[in-house]
Symmetry: C2
Subunit: 347 residues, 2 copies
Amino acid sequence: MENVLTVPAELLHRQLTTVFTTWGMSQDHADIAATIMVETDLTGIDSHGIGMLPHYQKLLRENRLDPRATPTIARDNGPAVLVDGNKAIGHVPAHFANAIAIEKARQHGIGIAAVTNSNHYGAAGWYARMAAEAGMIGISLTNASHLLVPIHGTQPALGTNPIAFSAPTRDETRPVLLDMATTTVAYGKVSIARRAGKPLPPGWALDENGNPETNSARAAETRRLAPLGGTREQGAHKGYGLALMVEILCATLTGAGSAQLRTGHFFLVLNPTAFRDREDFQADLDDLIARLRGNTPAEPGQPVIIPGDPEHDTFIQRQRDGIPMMPTLVEEVRAVCEESGAGFILT
Amino acid sequence: MENVLTVPAELLHRQLTTVFTTWGMSQDHADIAATIMVETDLTGIDSHGIGMLPHYQKLLRENRLDPRATPTIARDNGPAVLVDGNKAIGHVPAHFANAIAIEKARQHGIGIAAVTNSNHYGAAGWYARMAAEAGMIGISLTNASHLLVPIHGTQPALGTNPIAFSAPTRDETRPVLLDMATTTVAYGKVSIARRAGKPLPPGWALDENGNPETNSARAAETRRLAPLGGTREQGAHKGYGLALMVEILCATLTGAGSAQLRTGHFFLVLNPTAFRDREDFQADLDDLIARLRGNTPAEPGQPVIIPGDPEHDTFIQRQRDGIPMMPTLVEEVRAVCEESGAGFILT
């Protein structure tokens, strides 16, 4: 692609910490948020890394994000903890809470940390993977801005409310890693189709009457996504049900609230050794993975993959070659730097 | 419908306990399994109630099900417990484990009971609802016989691996209750289409080359279901990922094993009061439900529903009018009674 800037991870990290510390975040907090965002870009989830920076600046400008906030423990009931994000950028309380859940799982076999009063925390999968890297099974959920239209409805009423799950395999660099929106597609895919001038398949977005919207320009404008399944006949009541489950665990259980820009998270961490010997667990997991990879492929040369494979491959490639950034994004980052009074160092 | 027998719940319960005690199950265990199966039929999930009896007898005949087995606690790590089903009918260890998870959640705020060495446990939602009736949030998962073909594959490699979730509302008779297969449809829907001689929509089943199978007779025969989403473009990698998550938690974490007729379960119970005051939680949940019900419907008179609504309505109707049984099912139950030497009392 022409004009695509390719940025080494270290430089992107430095750019982000420069902005965040200018906003008033501590060096530690800036480093946590930047690390999560850069690793997200390294795995190819471009919609949830540095691409979110303009949105975070908007939250800051509207006083919804407090750069100086430090998350606190609001309730501590042994293995169950409630963290108050105190309006920090979501990555900071999410990282804090997930680390607590991991520690609780070490102690009690399981740990849950729910987070209230937070903001957008980036990619759900990053936190599940953090648990897997600690040898644990991790689940990470968050509610989000309303985009999902419930079955039989016409108005967005829930977020794309992702579900992420990770489990540690013997190969520490390759945990099983599922990270999925509970809509058929995340909003980013609608934007990509709009930019490419392509129509949407029915099942991705809806019009204001609840019918399929295949015009990508209109869908990007009206922002009504169909639940996973797409239509009732194809199981969209299931995507809606999963999104509602995530909403209850992240918004209702935590007290974050179920409205636009009210954000909570839910982290569940399991220590496999509470249930089985680690060697047995990992041997069986590796067997399961091998059995799935051994499934006769529909297309020769296109084998069955394990959730996390594409991200793993992209990570290796981008760590070597750098992270591609479209010119519009580079300009958006430049604008954030200007508004913040932070140095722009990407070019 | 002609020839449909309508059976009062009490009679169905008596029929089932008669069969189960003849098999050698204790009165207590027979009562637990019968109660779960009858309540499943009352809620309209006909595929998972008495309709499973012939399958359970097959398991008994093949020595895969031990009617005299009593579940035992294999590991007890505070809030995390592993239960050994000892090859009992699945309902018995599942009920035992879920009750432990509820008790652990009372004590620790959260409880997890995983079950190994079990059998088919009926409808996943029954156990989640049991937690909600105790004032808790419940999650119930089970692995199952291989029917799901992974994305890019051709062979069934995972079960329909359901996810059930329930949360208590102020109206105790109406918890939020999601109970969904991670395939687009459960196998039962393919059977219904076959009996009706109707084609399947693409996205439900696959042929032996991994392409959509729309012939319902062939699909019922070859038993290859598509993951929720149906196709890659419509997000079937998500259904596959969810099924794999359930498999890891139920088969791998428990040691039940990931093969045909190796069955494990996973129960997670959360006490909302570990995170918030109960009144606040339930007020917010009722607000969320009201907001969803208030969504402008696409079709006037067909409002947005909450997961669990259809089952609730069917429960009330069938408790009043009885449970409809197709003649073929009645004959199958008669055959089970004959083989078991149990009295047939339905007609």
